[in-house]
């Protein structure tokens, strides 16, 4: 069963604008990490940002920030001041129910940034 859901298969945003990618997950654990990964076309997966579930403060990395709603099991990614180089597939990842050792990935959101 899919435990990580990305409901937006494709998104587009104009350069310099802000875009939010959504993600919901399902885990029964109390302490865990959540991740957003970026996969540019024909290039390898790189980590964008991570959130520790026991921290209430939303993680921020330069132009990237998350809106973490633990009770709702929601973990959205906000990209501010979008740049052409942000064009990529974005994958949300969380541990599956009952296991914090491994990650389950969503199906991804294809983000296109246009001039």
């Amino acid at each position: 069963a899919q435990t990580v859901t990305q409901s937006q298969p494709e998104m587009s945003v104009q350069e310099a604008e802000t875009v939010t990618l959504s993600c919901t997950y399902d885990t029964s654990e109390n302490n865990y990490y959540l991740f957003w990964y970026k996969q540019p076309p024909s290039r390898q997966m790189i980590l964008v940002i991570r959130q520790e579930a026991y921290k209430q403060q939303n993680a921020t990395e330069n132009r990237f920030s998350v809106n973490f709603q633990k009770a709702a099991k929601s973990f959205s990614l906000k990209i501010s001041d979008s740049q052409l180089g942000d064009t990529a597939m974005y994958f949300c990842a969380s541990p599956p129910p009952g296991n914090t050792d491994k990650l389950i990935f969503g199906t991804g959101t294809r983000l296109q940034v246009f001039p």
Partner: protein, 113 residues
């Protein structure tokens, strides 16, 4: 090298052939993961190791898939009697310890004809 490396980067196999895919994790990383990524999809978990111990192989699609990490460093994913449905990108990732962020290699694109 500083990152995770995988070889070969591309592999074309005839149906029925055996293939072996190699992963060199980041030095000192305890955990190593294998994923299968179909075109346009997210990575699907196959198996993972903590040092040389294979802790979970629940994602391996069939008994034709076998992974090992005998010395707790380099890992090999072997696929026997390849089928067309095995065509995918196989990603390897390593992390400092279980639960930490995973660092991915470039992947091996396997095409089975």
């Amino acid at each position: 090298g500083a990152g995770v490396s995988q070889s070969p980067r591309y592999k074309v196999a005839k149906r029925g052939q055996d293939v072996a895919l190699r992963c060199d994790p980041i030095s000192g990383h305890v955990s190593l993961f294998w994923y299968q990524q179909a075109l346009g999809q997210g990575p699907e978990f196959l198996t993972y190791f903590q040092n040389e111990a294979q802790l979970d192989k629940s994602g391996l699609p069939s008994d034709r898939f076998f992974a090992e990490r005998p010395e707790g460093s380099v890992s090999t994913l072997k696929i026997q009697r390849t089928q067309q449905e095995d065509s995918a990108v196989y990603l390897c990732a390593s992390s400092r310890r279980i639960g930490n962020e995973q660092f991915f290699g470039p992947g091996t694109r396997l095409t089975v004809l």
